[in-house]
Symmetry: C2
Subunit: 429 residues, 2 copies
Amino acid sequence: MKENIVNLGLFGFGTIGAGVVRLLDANADVIEEKTGSKLALKKIVDIDTETDRGVELPEGVLSADAADIIDNDDIGIVIELIGGAGVAREIVANALQKGKHVVTANKELIAKHGPELVRLAGQNGVRILFEASVGGGIPVLTPLLGCLRGNRINRVLGIVNGTTNYILTQMEATGADFDVILKEAQELGYAEADPTNDIEGFDAAYKAVILASAAFGKKVDVSSIMREGITKVGMADMEYARELGYTIKLLAVLEDNGAAVDVRVHPCLLPCSHPLASINGVLNAVYLEGDPIGPLMFVGQGAGPSATSSAVIGDVLELLTSGTSAAGGTAWNIFADSELAPVTSVSNAFYMRLTVSDMPGVLADVGGCLGRLDVSLASVVQKKTDGKSAELVMLTHSVNEGNMAKALEQLKDLKCVETISTALRVFDS
Amino acid sequence: MKENIVNLGLFGFGTIGAGVVRLLDANADVIEEKTGSKLALKKIVDIDTETDRGVELPEGVLSADAADIIDNDDIGIVIELIGGAGVAREIVANALQKGKHVVTANKELIAKHGPELVRLAGQNGVRILFEASVGGGIPVLTPLLGCLRGNRINRVLGIVNGTTNYILTQMEATGADFDVILKEAQELGYAEADPTNDIEGFDAAYKAVILASAAFGKKVDVSSIMREGITKVGMADMEYARELGYTIKLLAVLEDNGAAVDVRVHPCLLPCSHPLASINGVLNAVYLEGDPIGPLMFVGQGAGPSATSSAVIGDVLELLTSGTSAAGGTAWNIFADSELAPVTSVSNAFYMRLTVSDMPGVLADVGGCLGRLDVSLASVVQKKTDGKSAELVMLTHSVNEGNMAKALEQLKDLKCVETISTALRVFDS
């Protein structure tokens, strides 16, 4: 048998890049046995060529010059692990234009520029694959675009950000406040020094948009989707949620009603009986409902060098075995323009926690305000906090988002309402 | 755009066959949108052409003559849903020899004759795909042979039989005995009139062998693996297991230590904290541990026309888009001869429930017998049943299967041991 050596070029030698090097080294035998090919990391390009990444490289592999990969005709497959939508975008576009296939884990790049890059790949007779961009190592995009293609996908719910899932899990388990757990997560390396990208839901929003393309074949503008982070979730909400039979998760929620798609990222009260409710810590999970397949769930590690390198190399091997022409294998030309359902056309159940004056007539005032906007209540709990104030926790039935927004405005103006501490969506079906 | 019509022939028009007809009808638009192809069910062959299956077929599609498909040059893809390893084997072999691709949901056929049929497909330049044979609609084989190929798979645990999972779940939930729940499952259509294939673990064993091929690339003889059904699991065991922090599941257990593979099907005490412990009812799940990906779990409906037709059509679409040559797409030539680890070389923790005479010295006798065979105990619970007898429930540490078999033999001969009610394996790491 002729030895089949496949040369790879890698951009970005951070922790994920080092993970890819480690995988290629440790599993060379498995890969050759399963595919008949040897993967050779010909060049790694990174601006930092000094730092020790804990993996050994042959002399001359590491370089700071992008041309060493882009202009190298021996390299047919480029792995992009730089991250962000700046330099990475330029490098990926250059590689595609040079007729090189690209494998990337970069969710921001794909969420923002996926359609243009997929088009560019097609024009140059190559492919761009990005399984690692959603759910880390968990096979999500490939099954959606492969085995599950016979289905109509109606809904996808995803816990797609490990940092926020860790924070929420730890808040619930320990009773400690958000700030305390965030600091702990930073010390453990689960959260970055600037945690904005995770805790404000940007990372999950990128993934939601990529999921929408794979599940529904629809292109959604990431800057126009509803996005709410977890900073407003308090310990009190955790406790009330638990009392009411719910847990709080940051969810990517995607629904396709045929005419429009609804894509959102927000914290959500999820019934404890829901399969996603037990996905704890840094784990990720994607739950979907398809017709005819019914409910389906994938669970695993959503980030980190081990899981991510598994997905990256999976994509590289997909390029080897499904043919390297743009036509071969599963079609990743998945982006059709689509209408995003206006938020005000969507309905949701809501959880609210208010501080109100502890005096007669409060419930009538609050109830009257809600009733006038068709917000009907499923349950109300009132707890005294001190002599003057009381805490009011309410669950609504499903209500139009537009009406709910108005109701929250008007509640604020009621004399008896001191503060609206939290308003969170509730998953109710 | 040229209209691309793909003609299919279907063998077996039972409930699954009718599900395939329903899917093709209901999701024709989705399939054409995603693949650019129309799937046309040209011929259905079944010995029964009379029974109403609740789906409408055009005149002339249903026939009782296999030649209508096998000798029809317009049909390039054959779906086999007859089941069993008799007629189905002959029909699949004929179709492959005629240069037709085959998609099948038939676990018995693949477990018993997979290697020979995969070889035959290769010789004829076609492929045989069987994603639906394990886990129903859950993508399991395709990810193992696709996205996850860069990993070394160390262990697979599967709840791969919905009937037995339903029975065990209901026993635990209701406290009713095996026979009662089995009868209920039969009335609900979850168990067959002759339930042997499910409750004795044959169905799970077929799936275990197919999983071994996809996970490890190893061929295992289904008749030589350890197989134990759920008929000996009593309500008392359910209750003791729960007290000890376990639930009881029928598991397919696969491990690869490099030198040999260990493939088994048996009921197992699983810690309640294990991800598989909460997979209830007719759901199926496959949990695996790979390097570097870590733990991964897939959950969904493991049987029935909806889930199965999803996987069958997924395979058909895979044939369309990954090229129809045997070389294209993921390699399904996955069967290498392999050594099955002898049972006596494997270690497991055990749970035992014995009825013993309620008199002094019993524990010493039982403990002495176990100790001489290196069976060390993790915990012992003794409960009085009446004046004369007591129930002794023991959990062992991990012990060699050979020694445990000897220990059970010798315990039986002890004067103080009246009966050994149950001995079950315990998952302990």
